[in-house]
């Protein structure tokens, strides 16, 4: 027995007392741990690239980039009078509800958008935290101090931009700075207006950013001014906006491109007209060209076309009608544009003959909308019904501004992925035309109608003087007629008329660019505009899916806070997030 006990003791000594602590220390594989490891110039730079990376609305959470596209087509076009969801009625059904304002808080689109914009905020804050730590522990070389200051301003700009996206969508949103770290600390209330915080970020960026950056994708101070001006416009703070807009127009490096259509051509990425634009790239070694404009990959004509997928984001009859011009003056039909439907190939097979609309049109129509018989960039004529996924459902038109040219295929379009429609056309968030038209809005509100008219005319003149969409023989593809508003035109005779004219111009100029719904809310005319639109589209224009849709003022100006977020931010059954009114 003693021997047994002795052997047990020996066993215990030899076998049991292995050195455990070292054995059990296993570092995470392929990852860096802790903020301090990145508190260096290299780390700050890398984190900032990560923060820029979310600008395209795609951070890899795998829920469909179209739920959070940088272009905002799902939130700016679809629920507005510019466009329909498109495709067929059963694809991406949650978007049907967004379009009809029947979406409820569990609609997965909202959740993705929320997660993506706040991921952008998070990444921006990670940069700022790394900078703070680096300054504290002294890991920044003397020569890098100024660079770090610029990086800080870039991160602040991005933080402001991502919050701005949230503000536009939901109005009542939490503001996250670099303080919260633990999960509970992110359960932040959404009852405080975050405009001041957003503006503070932009102001910091304006104060610390250079006018130009060596790398074209980096934010410079002019961009920050543009976004701050936009923030003012959203708050109807025309006085503050005016100062910035004048500064940009008078002192900034921007101008309109001679040809309107070039704004949507990959060759003219980062052009003189781009105030704020998201960089995209394809075939850069990233799986499926994830850095391309993935948010819009389903917005191409469908199977009978060369694109194969998927027919979303189709322009509305209402939008197309808006491009009619007065055959005598070449001016828009501000009040009567929607009295009749512009001739179209609805219900006509591609093999059957079709004669296009012969009346006068704003040339921007055919840069904005793909329609039968008109050259679809360099792809030949739009194929009509054959190219449309379900014309009976979503009408005869295709989007165009996000579409690449045939000559760019393979080079500036993706070579991999389930769709190769991802391409390198940068996504314009603020064009110089935006700036001019905001300034026109300011002028209207100041009752300076003449300035407004001149600014609008500057936009129209470019559209008139630039290249029209043309047939292969160089002749205009349609009967284009566009002119400036003459001096003393009644459209600029009163506040009401001038507002209408400027806003209409903005719609024509920026059609299908993801602004329209937010503009309608900003103008506080969403309910009247959209309910009229639903009534006519739903009956006369044959879009039955819009019949009975109703925009409820006081509720539908903002989308519901995602249900999952309300649940995730609750403690003891009480959520730090308050649902928006009416949901």
């Amino acid at each position: 027995m003693k021997k047994v006990i002795r052997l047990f003791i020996v066993f215990n000594l030899i076998i049991l007392n292995a050195c455990d602590d070292g054995f059990l220390e296993v570092s995470p594989q392929g990852a860096l741990v802790g903020a301090e490891s990145l508190a260096t110039m290299e780390g700050i730079d890398a984190l900032l690239i990560g923060a820029y990376s979310v600008l395209d609305g795609w951070n890899g959470i795998g829920e469909g980039a179209w739920r959070s596209p940088a272009s905002n087509w799902t939130y700016g076009n679809v629920p507005s009078d510019d466009g329909y969801k498109g495709s067929d009625q059963g694809d991406q059904t949650p978007l049907n509800d967004i379009e009809r304002f029947t979406a409820i808080a569990s609609n997965p689109y909202f959740l993705t958008k929320w997660k993506v914009v706040y991921d952008g905020v998070r990444r921006s804050n990670d940069v700022l935290r790394a900078i703070t730590t680096a300054r504290k522990i002294g890991t920044i070389d003397e020569s890098d101090i100024e660079t770090v200051n610029i990086r800080e301003a870039e991160a602040r700009f991005l933080r402001g931009h991502y919050h701005f996206e949230a503000k536009k969508m939901w109005n009542n949103v939490p503001y996250v700075d670099e303080i919260p770290l633990k999960i509970d600390e992110f359960k932040i209330t959404n009852t405080v207006d975050i405009w001041p915080s957003i503006e503070e970020n932009f102001q910091f960026a304006i104060d610390h950013l250079p006018e130009t950056q060596p790398e074209i994708g980096r934010i410079a101070s002019w961009t920050a001014k543009g976004l701050l001006a936009k923030a003012h416009m959203f708050q109807q703070d025309f006085v503050a906006a005016k100062i910035l807009l004048d500064d940009i127009m008078n002192n900034g490096p921007f101008d309109l491109l001679p040809n309107y259509g070039d704004n949507f051509n990959v060759t003219f990425n980062n052009s003189v007209e781009d105030v704020f634009e998201v960089q995209t790239s394809v075939n850069d070694g990233v799986t499926n060209s994830g850095n391309g404009n993935w948010g819009d990959v389903i917005n191409f004509p469908h199977d009978g076309s060369p694109f194969g997928c998927c027919g979303f984001n189709q322009p509305s009859f209402n939008l197309v009608n808006a491009y009619q011009t007065d055959p005598a003056t070449g001016l828009p039909l501000l009040d009567t544009f929607n009295d009749d439907i512009l001739t179209n190939d609805q219900g006509i097979d591609s093999t059957e003959p079709f004669t296009e609309y012969q009346g006068t049109l704003d040339p921007r129509l055919d840069h904005t909308v793909g329609r039968r018989g008109i050259p679809y960039l360099d792809w030949g004529d739009h194929g009509g019904r054959l190219w449309i996924r379900d014309q009976g459902f979503s009408g005869p038109y295709s989007p165009k501004k996000n579409v690449y040219r045939k000559s760019d295929v393979g080079n500036l379009t993706s070579n991999s992925g389930w769709t190769t429609n991802a391409n390198a056309i940068n996504i314009p968030l603020i064009r110089f035309a935006d700036v001019i038209l905001w300034r026109a809005e300011v002028a209207v509100e100041e009752s300076d109608f003449e300035t407004a008219r001149q600014l609008v005319n500057r936009i129209r003149a470019r559209a008139r003087d630039g290249a029209f969409v043309s047939e292969s023989d160089g002749s205009p593809a349609a009967n284009y007629l566009i002119n400036e508003y003459p001096t003393g035109h009644p459209a600029f005779g009163s506040l009401t008329e001038a507002r209408k004219a400027v806003r209409f111009e903005r719609r024509l100029e920026l059609g299908m660019e993801g602004h329209r719904f937010f503009d309608l809310v900003r103008y506080r005319i969403a309910a009247e505009t959209l309910n009229t639109y639903f009534a006519i589209e739903g009956t006369r224009n044959g879009r039955i899916f819009l019949a009975g849709a109703n925009f409820e003022p006081g509720k539908h100006e903002y989308f519901p806070i995602p249900l999952s977020e309300i649940l995730a931010s609750s403690s003891n059954g009480v959520s730090s997030l308050t649902q928006n009114p009416g949901y």
Binding site: L24, D91, D119, I183, F186, G217
Partner: protein, 1103 residues
């Protein structure tokens, strides 16, 4: 035939111990060895002719052909027709007496000259040794819930993967099968203990095999599978035991003559057409589409009617015209374009067009992708041994053509098990080594989850319109290119193009051990185990020009994974006998380390489709690559004491202390258990009226852990350079991005083990003169501090969620097994059954009682499954449908429902607040069964034996997600026959809403409409075996020869309308090393491959 007692054998055993010295119920091996030593020492004794007789202990009938062998010699004989034998042996010799179907006996000759041997039929008995944690125990001494099956039962099942042997056989064990060839198996023990990983711990010959697909191992090699369900048996595995432990032991040789065992079986797998989901004919579909348009009145302008690219134009559904050709639109047979036929197999051509003739009779797509498949299974083993060594060497092959076309599975396995005694048997060394190579061919070889996925091949088979032909007029595949046909892909084309995809796995699994017994009863054992897996996946994606959303380039990708797990355990055990008290002590130490790495690469644009051309270098564009890995370690101490008093009162106590690299601040955890057993029928007060001849009561309690989460959770933040999600083209180059870094994962230094506390009470009884034995267990398993990656506020921007200890889940249930044996002359039969239940409830979700955990999304349905306080895990969540609105006034009086109008679903206003919104979603179904059961019947008459085995599940519900595509207007595509019963003014009792292209989004939202009864009964096996009589086998020179015919799953009874109801378990993710494989949603049919039925013929023979 498991978990059973037999008083008959118990009594026999008593007879035995008197008659035969050398066999004991204790550590049998050791005592046999001592006999052998005895024998060796006195082998010089004179040999005398010994005669004897062998009879069946039950009926006294003489047994013919019984093998009688003098141990350690080649001298042997067989009994004659009267059961008699004569052999030369000395008084110190030991006779080995063996016969098929009877237990082998060892009889010491002593001074006997006429030995009468009563042979005992080979059924399990009290003294049976059950392999448990780090040791073996007699069934009598087990105080917990342990179930096992033996080699014979495993052999009777034509299973591909060893874990499938447990289905329906072991109470409390729930099996989910992936229906395709080489598919994975999901094992759940006693319900779903956690919202975290529920995989049990697999120990194969002492080697930890965490999760993973066990189909690469040869099931013929298995000697026994033991499942440790309660704490007193499983807690010795501490931090990994909370989901139960499955211990697999492989065969080894037995001392005596050399055995060669050969088994061969061949069969056909099939799925009967009667199981195929019922779909609309092309005309019915056309009418459906036309009606939807007419009802929505949206075919252009103000006019009613329909206008469809395929079905023409009209004002009533009866006017639909099926086109002659679906592509190009308007083409006819004499179309001049037919000459320009496009060859889809030539990847260099640009798609011109395809002439696709409409299949007006309708393509039965399920019939097109499902075909009978041949399968075969062969194994040969050679085993044997002497006094100092024993060995088994075996090879096996398993080949199966999947019932899904162009899918195959092949496995080749090699095994070498042996054991050697040295130093007067004081030291034994041995090894169990297997090398297994398996190859999965076809679409299921791919790395992504291709089964039970909304984008799976099965889902596409539901979705593709029946008017689409399988092939076009030019000999290419047909597809949805024609317009108005939706975006489903041709599943046959997709299967065909994937037919050369391969998943190759080489798994080396084995252990070497040394066992020393320096002092009698004191055994030291050291075991080193290795589980190594190398996997290579090649996946080629072709162009599919016939599809409406076609891909017009080729892609090839190759993935390599390398997994290496090793463990080293050292144990010291001591057996001590003190008059009436019997002690067993065990202490041990174990360390293990798991490592894996994966790398992958891909390229596009292969100029040729030739299989031999599929290497990364050949691709011309879009170079992609990546890689990742993981590592974790565990270190443990453990001990156990077993004590019994007078073989009547049993108890055991275990403790284990584990340290895991997955935790930082709470690295170490301790787990304890205790169990008690009382053989109450041995007490004097127990009535000996013959009704209850044996009754053992048992109870146990203990704690176990679960640490199955991804590696490296300890630290607060991780930043991972991420090409896809954190790179940006900062220079505006359009074709190059700068790689950044982003926050990739939250961390939590404070997390600790998830702990399960299990109470188990039960009894084992033998009734009515041994005819009936019963085993019963009640259990209560409470999992606390579940390790969950809670959904944090998106406001924090977390990419991957941190893990927290949140919430509790409770599983309570009972398990009953009953067996009845009877003999009527030559007819012997036994009937067995087992029944298991569990009730699962989430009893806490932490401090925040409103917290819920969602299952995975299914397409656009956002939250089918919910895990919340007070409900079962994975409960189905959605709206309740109360019929259909008949008229405007019903709409007006109902709560405010988005899009409501006559003919739409009427959603229940659950919270009665006058508005239909998210708040009105509620629990609409429970995926957990009321009970599961297995029944087996064994009949033998002379040389014939008939086995029937059935298994069923009752009371569970399934979420038939395929209804999203087939019953509602989601995507253009095929619809099912239920849409014929859509509501209309003339069909006011219709079950589905008015067919309409103008449909409010809520219509196909997650609702009670999707819920179906998922119960089923499957006759898993019916097998008729004929054993050749000994007279013939002797002539043929073989020891035994059996032939059998078997049917598998030949009868399936279910009300489920989908392809197969057996999807109640899912998430077959074999990446458990990363801690996935959770069960936050179960029972959702996203398009699962069907479980095939089989007809099999086989031969088993031995030399």
């Amino acid at each position: 035939m498991m978990n059973q007692w037999s008083v008959k054998s118990y009594l026999r055993f008593m007879v035995y111990t008197n008659a035969i010295e050398c066999v004991s119920y204790g550590a049998r091996k050791r005592i046999i060895a001592q006999c052998a030593i005895l024998f060796l020492s006195f082998s010089a004794f004179a040999q005398n002719p010994i005669s004897g007789s062998t009879t069946d202990i039950e009926d006294g009938a003489p047994l013919l052909g019984v093998s009688v062998l003098v141990r350690g010699t080649l001298s042997g004989t067989v009994t004659d027709i009267n059961g008699r034998f004569t052999i030369n042996a000395s008084s110190e010799d030991v006779l080995l007496i063996s016969h098929v179907g009877y237990e082998t006996q060892e009889v010491r000759v002593g001074n006997q000259i006429n030995i009468s041997i009563k042979m005992v039929p080979d059924i399990q008995e009290l003294s049976e040794l059950i392999v448990t944690g780090y040791s073996s125990q007699s069934r009598q001494s087990i105080t917990g819930s342990v179930s096992s099956i033996g080699a014979e039962e495993i052999a009777s099942l034509p299973i591909m993967s060893l874990d499938r042997a447990m289905q329906g056989r072991l109470p409390g064990v729930y099996i989910g099968n992936e229906g395709y060839a080489g598919g994975n198996t999901m094992v759940r023990i006693r319900g779903f203990g956690t919202l975290n990983n529920n995989d049990p711990l697999f120990i194969i010959d002492g080697v930890q095999v965490s999760g993973g697909n066990l189909s690469s191992l040869n099931s013929t090699d298995i000697e026994s599978i033991t499942v440790l369900k309660d704490a007193s048996s499983a807690a010795i595995y501490g931090a990994r035991a909370s989901n139960g432990v499955v211990i697999v032991t492989t065969k080894n040789g037995k001392p005596g003559a050399l055995n060669v065992d050969i088994s061969m079986s061949n069969g056909v797998n099939y799925v009967p057409e009667s199981r195929f989901p019922r779909m609309l004919s092309p005309r019915q579909l056309a009418e459906n589409v036309a009606l939807s348009q007419i009802n929505a009145n949206l075919s252009g302008g103000n006019s009613g009617g329909f206008n469809h690219p395929q079905y023409g134009l009209g004002t009533s559904a009866s006017e639909v015209i099926l086109p002659d050709f679906i592509n190009p639109q308007g083409a006819s047979a004499d179309d001049p374009r037919v000459a320009a036929g496009y060859d889809t197999n030539d990847d260099n051509s640009d798609g011109i067009f395809q002439l696709m003739r409409a299949n007006k009779n309708g393509t039965n797509w399920f019939d097109e992708i499902i075909d009978p498949g041949y399968f075969q299974k062969y194994s040969i083993s050679v085993s044997g041994g002497g006094e100092l060594s024993r060995f088994l060497f075996g090879v096996g092959h398993y080949g199966e053509e999947g019932v899904i076309k162009f899918t195959d599975f092949d496995r080749y396995s090699l095994r070498m098990n042996s054991e050697f005694s040295i130093a007067d048997d004081k030291i034994r060394i041995g090894e169990n080594v297997s090398v297994n190579y398996s190859e999965r061919t076809g679409i299921f070889a791919q790395n992504t989850l291709v089964n039970n996925n909304v984008e799976s091949i099965i889902s596409m088979t539901y979705r593709i319109p029946s008017i689409v032909p399988v092939g076009d007029e030019g000999g290419n595949f047909g597809g949805t290119q024609g317009g108005g046909l939706g975006n489903a892909i041709n599943p046959v084309a997709h299967l065909f193009r994937s037919k050369d995809d391969k998943r190759r796995e080489l798994r080396n699994l084995g252990s070497i051990y040394v066992e020393a017994e320096p002092i009698e009863g004191l055994v030291y054992k050291s075991l080193l185990g290795l589980n190594h897996l190398s996997r290579n996946i090649t996946d080629f994606e072709s162009k599919d020009p016939e599809a409406s959303e076609s891909t017009l380039f080729t892609t090839f990708s190759e993935t390599n994974r390398w997994i290496s797990n090793w463990n080293w355990s050292n144990t010291l055990s001591y057996e001590l006998e003190l008059s009436d008290s019997h002690f067993n002590f065990l202490i041990g130490k174990e360390i293990l380390k798991n490592t894996f790495r994966e790398s992958f690469g891909g390229r596009n644009d292969f100029i040729n489709q030739d299989v031999s051309f599929r290497f990364l270098n050949v691709g011309q564009s879009s170079l992609q690559n990546g890689g990742f890995g993981g590592k974790n370690a565990l270190s443990s101490y453990f001990g156990r004491v077993d004590y019994n008093f007078r073989n009547r009162y049993y108890s055991n106590f275990t403790i284990r202390r584990d340290g895991s690299s997955k935790f930082i601040e709470n690295r170490w955890g301790s787990f304890v258990s205790a169990g008690f057993g009382w053989l109450i029928s041995d007490e004097n007060f127990f009535p000996s009226d013959g009704i209850i001849s044996l009754l053992k009561l048992r109870a146990s309690w203990g704690q176990m852990g679960n640490q199955n989460i991804p590696d490296s959770n300890g630290d607060l933040v991780f930043f991972t350079p991420d090409l896809e999600n954190s790179s940006y083209d900062i220079t505006g180059s359009n074709t190059g991005s700068l790689v950044g870094i982003d926050f990739s994962k939250g961390g939590n230094r404070d997390i600790r083990w998830e702990t399960s506390e299990v109470t188990d009470i039960g009894f084992d009884a033998i009734l009515f003169d041994s005819k009936i034995d019963v085993s019963f267990s009640w259990f209560n398993r409470k999992t606390e501090d579940m390790l969950l990656d809670t959904t944090p506020p998106g406001t924090g921007g977390f990419a991957n969620n941190a893990f927290f200890n949140v919430g509790n889940v409770q599983n309570k249930g009972v398990e009953i097994a009953i067996n009845y044996n009877e003999e009527l002359g030559d007819l012997k039969y036994s009937i067995g059954g087992n029944l298991s239940t569990y009730r699962n409830e989430i009893t806490s979700v932490g401090e925040n009682a409103s917290l819920t955990f969602n299952g995975n999304l299914a397409r656009d349905l956002n939250q089918i499954s919910i895990n919340r306080l007070g409900d079962s895990t994975g409960s189905f969540f959605g709206f309740v449908i109360d019929g259909i609105f008949q008229n405007d006034s019903e709409v007006a009086t109902h709560a405010d429902q988005p899009g409501a109008r006559p003919g739409t679903f009427r959603f229940r206003d659950v919270n009665d607040d006058g508005i239909i919104n998210d708040e009105d979603r509620t629990i609409i179904g429970n995926p957990h069964p009321d009970f599961t059961y297995g029944i087996n019947l064994n009949l033998s008459y002379k040389n014939f034996e008939l086995d029937l085995f059935g298994q069923g599940v009752s009371g569970n519900e399934l979420f038939n997600f395929q209804r999203y595509f087939t019953d509602f207007n989601n995507f253009q595509g095929q619809r099912g026959i239920r849409t014929l019963d859509a509501w209309s003014t003339t069909n006011p009792n219709g079950k589905l809403p008015l067919l309409s292209d103008s449909r409010p989004g809520l219509e196909s939202a997650e609702s009670s409409y999707y819920i179906e009864d998922g119960g089923y009964f499957k006759l898993r096996s019916i097998r008729l075996t004929y054993t050749l009589p000994p007279s013939m086998t002797t002539k043929l020179g073989v020891k035994y020869l059996k032939v059998f015919a078997q049917g598998k799953n030949v009868i399936v009874i279910t009300d489920y309308t989908g392809l197969d109801p057996e999807i109640n378990l899912q998430s077959f993710d074999d990446n458990t090393i990363e801690g996935r494989n959770r069960n936050r949603d179960i029972g959702i049919d996203r398009g699962a491959a069907p479980i095939p039925r089989s007809v099999i013929f086989g031969i088993n023979l031995g030399f």
